[in-house]
């Protein structure tokens, strides 16, 4: 089983601050996905990255896939209370159908 380490585990920041969360592995992934989960709900897909070095932007969220396809980061600019939630990264190995998930980063944005 490929392992994904997410850091930090918990993050509490003030509204308007910037933040970055990380997703790291010793394994190469075919693709890596980021999800956000709100309490009592299932995770919702934010983005998929498949090419080493790829950068994708979704409004105030910027996602980057490492050149070696072993790590990824999520950067949020000017965080808002609506960004509060559990952020999960998940990766698929070559020829694999299933995602392996990290344990998540729990983000709280305080108004």
């Amino acid at each position: 089983t490929q392992l994904l380490e997410q850091s930090p585990q918990f993050l509490s920041i003030q509204e308007g601050e910037n933040l970055t969360v990380y997703c790291n592995s010793s394994s190469v992934f075919s693709s890596l996905q980021w999800y956000r989960q709100e309490p009592g709900e299932g995770p919702v897909l934010l983005v998929t990255v498949v090419t080493g070095g790829e950068v994708k932007k979704l409004k105030r969220l910027t996602f980057q896939f490492g050149d070696a396809r072993k790590d990824s980061s999520l950067h949020i600019t000017a965080a808002q209370p609506g960004d509060t939630g559990l952020y999960l990264c998940g990766g698929t190995g070559a020829g694999s159908y299933q995602l392996t998930f990290g344990k998540g980063t729990k983000l709280s944005v305080i108004p």
């Binding site: 693709s31 299932g42 998940g90």
Partner: protein, 116 residues
């Protein structure tokens, strides 16, 4: 709106009962998955299926079985429920990724199962 529907949001069952968790998707996805989510342990894969009547064990299949008789439906069965199976159960589906396109998962809202 496309979706994955899990039959129950909350369930309370007694130790030793046989428990069925149902999941239905309306997106014609080939792949379906069952995960459990526990604090500090994250999402762990129990079983998945990439086609009708096909099933593969995930990381923690012990104490569980699955059934996929129709493409849209994937059932998780707890043969004899135990207290350590108290958890949030999440069903997901996805297209089969034939070209490393990284198709995302669509998750259901989850079933919070308590075994007493």
């Amino acid at each position: 709106d496309v979706k994955v529907t899990q039959s129950s949001r909350y369930l309370v069952k007694r130790t030793g009962e046989k428990v069925f968790l149902e999941c239905v998707q309306d997106m014609d996805h080939e792949n379906m998955f069952w995960y459990r989510q526990d604090p500090g342990l994250g999402l762990r894969l129990i079983y998945f299926s990439y086609d009708v009547k096909m099933k593969e064990k995930g990381d923690i299949p012990e104490g569980y079985s699955v059934s996929r008789e129709k493409k849209e439906r994937f059932s998780l069965i707890l043969e004899s429920a135990s207290t350590n199976q108290t958890s949030m159960y999440l069903c997901a589906s996805s297209l089969r990724d034939r070209g490393r396109l990284g198709y995302g998962y669509t998750f259901g809202s989850g079933t919070r199962l308590t075994v007493v």
